[in-house]
């Protein structure tokens, strides 16, 4: 699309234009939230915009969903046990922080244990893949699910993890979970829901950065880098073979590709980044439990995000995660959701008014509070039936190409 006399930086920048927009959007969001909180629409903002804690979930669950899409959306092999890798990453960093991983000394920087955990997941995926890739379709999905369930049951009862393994393990309070360049203190930022670094009056500009914000930006950088690595792989010859396998595996084999090793490579890479997502989650949440890491429903969340965002689009699942968490946020009371807003907005007489034996209060409690899974399920089914390509996939269909290819071209047309 670029003319030959154009400088490569310009054409590159134009290709990356949507990426820059999305990254800027994510980077400026906390500031926007902070500004809105000082305006008259503060209560609306906190009710209808996802809070920062939910945005952090968007980041690591988004990365997990992207890694799920990397294997399921691009090779067509539905990895139904993807939570196994997420859990491997999460448990590895938690156990390493407790000094419980043989060969990893206590106090090893988080960046290194995260990398080691991801490498372990890579190896585990090769082992699972060696067995599972003999099968296709439904059988592959079931086999990966079977492996994940074995790991789930094992970790749930493994006394080595903690004294109460069904509740999982926690990171000790003194442990340093920092994202940055290992061994360079000034380039490290501690993350964590409660224990992260916070900065006051940054550069004398009067800006305060809370611990949550530090975690948000630190996690965001890791997620961004991971995304670009996966994006590069998808756009490399390797990625083209992955797509060939999805479209017609027989033909890809007939053309001369050793499809087995391409599938193995894709699966292991996907597991690597799933484990990074798990490690980020564990570092931020300060621990991991079987039910929020190895469990089938964790894979299910990634699946929902990938379908809503657009399976086979790589970036789509991040938007799926954004949608998912936004929904969770406005329907929960954890950080001022819809129900809190309604309770403040509506006068007491309306709230207690009965309609067919049901007060508005009851209605809120029954159908809104924490009911996100119900509505997400309905939305998910509607997407499967009517929007099978998801949000980003449908946009691409409409534009006739990826957003980065089409938007700049469209802009160019308007400028002339």
């Amino acid at each position: 699309m670029s003319s030959s006399d154009e400088h490569w930086i310009r054409s590159y920048g134009r290709d990356q234009f949507p990426h820059v927009l999305v990254v800027l959007g994510f980077a400026l969001y906390p500031i926007l939230l902070g500004v809105l909180n000082r305006t008259p629409v503060a209560s609306e903002a906190s009710a209808f915009l996802p809070g920062l804690t939910f945005m952090i979930i968007v980041l690591y669950m988004g990365l997990f969903a992207i890694s799920f899409d990397f294997i399921s959306g691009y090779t067509g092999y539905l990895s139904f046990g993807h939570a196994a890798f997420y859990g491997t990453g999460a448990y590895f960093v938690v156990l390493a922080a407790n000094g419980q991983v043989p060969g990893v000394p206590e106090g090893m920087p988080f960046m290194i244990t995260m990398f080691l955990g991801a490498t372990l997941a890579f190896v585990v995926a090769l082992a699972i893949g060696a067995v599972s890739f003999r099968l296709t379709g439904v059988y592959f999905a079931m086999l990966t699910l079977g492996f994940a369930q074995v790991m789930y049951e094992f970790i749930r009862h493994w006394g080595y993890v903690s004294s109460n393994p069904t509740e999982g393990a926690t990171i000790p309070s003194g442990a340093d979970m920092s994202i940055g360049v290992p061994f360079v203190d000034s380039l490290n930022f501690a993350v964590g829901r409660l224990s992260g670094d916070s900065f006051e009056n940054v550069l004398g500009l009067g800006i305060d950065i809370s611990a949550t914000m530090t975690s948000y930006y630190a996690l965001g950088i890791v997620v961004l880098l991971s995304y670009f690595v996966m994006q590069r792989i998808i756009h490399s010859p390797f990625g083209k073979v992955m797509i060939a396998i999805r479209e017609n595996e027989e033909r890809a084999r007939a053309v001369g590709y050793n499809v087995f090793w391409y599938k193995m490579g894709a699966f292991a890479t996907s597991a690597f980044f799933a484990a990074i997502a798990g490690a980020l989650f564990a570092a931020y949440a300060g621990g991991a439990s079987p039910d929020n890491s190895f469990y089938f429903l964790v894979t299910a969340d990634a699946l929902i995000m990938a379908i809503i965002g657009g399976i086979g689009t790589l970036a789509g699942p991040l938007f799926g995660a954004l949608f998912h968490e936004w929904f969770e946020d406005i329907l929960s009371t954890e950080s001022d959701g819809l129900s809190t807003y309604l309770e403040q907005l509506l006068p007491e007489s309306v709230l207690t008014a009965e309609v067919a034996g049901l007060t508005i209060n009851d209605f809120i409690g029954t159908f809104l509070d924490g009911r996100a899974p119900l509505y997400l399920g309905i939305i998910f089914v509607l997407f499967v039936l009517f929007v099978p390509n998801g949000l980003l996939g449908s946009i691409r269909d409409r534009l006739g190409g990826t957003v980065s290819k089409r938007i700049p071209a469209a802009l160019e047309r308007y400028r002339r």
């Binding site: 067509g76 539905l78 067995v131 599972s132 003999r134 099968l135 296709t136 379709g137 439904v138 059988y139 592959f140 999905a141 079931m142 086999l143 699910l145 079977g146 492996f147 369930q149 074995v150 049951e153 094992f154 749930r156 009862h157 595996e249 089938f296 429903l297 299910a300 699946l303 929902i304 379908i307 029954t366 159908f367 009911r371 899974p373 119900l374 997400l376 399920g377 309905i378 998910f380 089914v381 499967v384 039936l385 099978p388």
Partner: protein, 340 residues
């Protein structure tokens, strides 16, 4: 860690000695067959649907959950403390019939309205659709159950308490105390096996199913309305899941709870895949295998020989993995059914 022969060998011998006592063997076999009966009823609907249509039905567990709750509701409303055991069992049979009819209708309607439009897509979309519907069913059940003041988890003890005393008491079989419920489950399991076998081999629709599993295009070419057969079989599979749910209602290890939606599904998958997706004979054999493995590992744990608490669950899913490694198509499965 070196194995210390001085302590390990006597332990193995002692374990074997305890295992080969009549009371132990009786316990493992009777309990195992009771569990096998439950596993069979839970799994058979899934395998029928998959065999004919190639659809892996993720709503299966949610349907069993509905069955358990509907059954529990009827029992709780109609049973009082003084109700006679025979009356309770008769009521249970009525509940089985009602739930089967209700869920067969519900399943048929679901297939007709939602799954039928997407048969032409890849199998993945049928998994996704049924999975989404399962989520909705579970959430709706949670809302309804909570609005009646019952906690969706742990299991609803009120419904479990309607079991007649003859089933909750333990009876002495060759020196082993065994719960009466297991005998009841075995009887119902045998009835279910015979019933489904007769349906498959002695009825016209059974013939369609067997033929359709072999070659759906040929069946269609012979002038049989396969679509209609799909709807009916999907309904029957759902009805069987409901029956399985009713069976779980009195089982102290299960009981009606929202967790059934996923737990039943996972166990049914294990049985179906070990037996071979779509194979009736395989499902029977796999259910017995899984049931016996379950009761054996439960015994190992109960006697303190193994202290790892998750042993039964781990063994069951381990069996699945081992089977898929050595024989991916399952015991009696046909290779590449439901392939890519």
């Amino acid at each position: 860690m070196p194995i210390e022969l001085a302590t390990e060998v006597p332990l193995v011998i002692e374990t074997l000695e305890r295992l080969f006592q009549p009371s132990t063997i009786a316990r493992i076999i009777v309990e195992g067959l009771g569990k096998a009966a439950v596993y069979f009823v839970l799994a058979v609907g899934l395998t029928l649907v998959f065999g004919l249509m190639g659809v892996l039905n993720f709503t299966h567990g949610a349907m069993a959950m509905l069955g358990a709750y509907i059954g529990g509701l009827v029992m709780v409303l109609s049973v009082s403390d003084g109700t006679d055991a025979l009356v309770r069992i008769a009521l249970f049979m009525v509940v089985l019939a009602v739930v089967f009819a209700l869920l067969t209708g519900f399943g048929s309607a679901f297939e007709y309205s939602l799954i039928r439009p997407i048969y032409d897509r890849t199998p993945m979309y049928q998994i996704l659709l049924t999975f989404g519907v399962a989520l909705i069913l579970e959430e709706v059940t949670r809302i309804v159950v909570l609005s009646q003041g019952i906690q969706p988890e742990p299991p609803w003890s009120g419904a479990m308490g309607t079991a007649p005393a003859v089933f909750t008491e333990r009876y002495d079989i060759l020196g082993a105390p065994i719960r009466g419920l297991y005998a009841f489950e075995i009887v119902l399991g045998i009835v279910a096996v015979v019933g489904v076998w007769l349906f498959l081999n002695r009825t016209l629709y059974g013939l369609y199913i067997r033929a359709g599993s072999e070659d759906p295009e040929m069946v269609e070419a012979l002038g049989i309305d396969v679509r209609q057969a799909f709807t009916i079989v999907f309904g029957l599979g759902t009805g069987l899941a409901g029956i399985g749910g009713v069976l779980l209602m009195w089982d102290p290890l299960w009981g009606p709870s929202a967790l059934l939606a996923i737990d039943v599904l996972l166990y049914a998958f294990v049985v179906v895949i070990i037996g071979g997706l779509g194979s009736f004979k395989g499902t029977v054999v796999a259910a017995i295998l899984v049931g016996i493995a379950d009761s054996f590992t439960t015994w190992l744990f109960a006697t303190g020989i193994v202290t790892f608490t998750g042993l039964p669950e781990l063994t069951i899913f381990g069996l699945l993995v081992i089977m898929l490694i050595i024989r991916p198509q399952g015991l009696y499965g046909v290779e590449e059914v439901g392939g890519h």
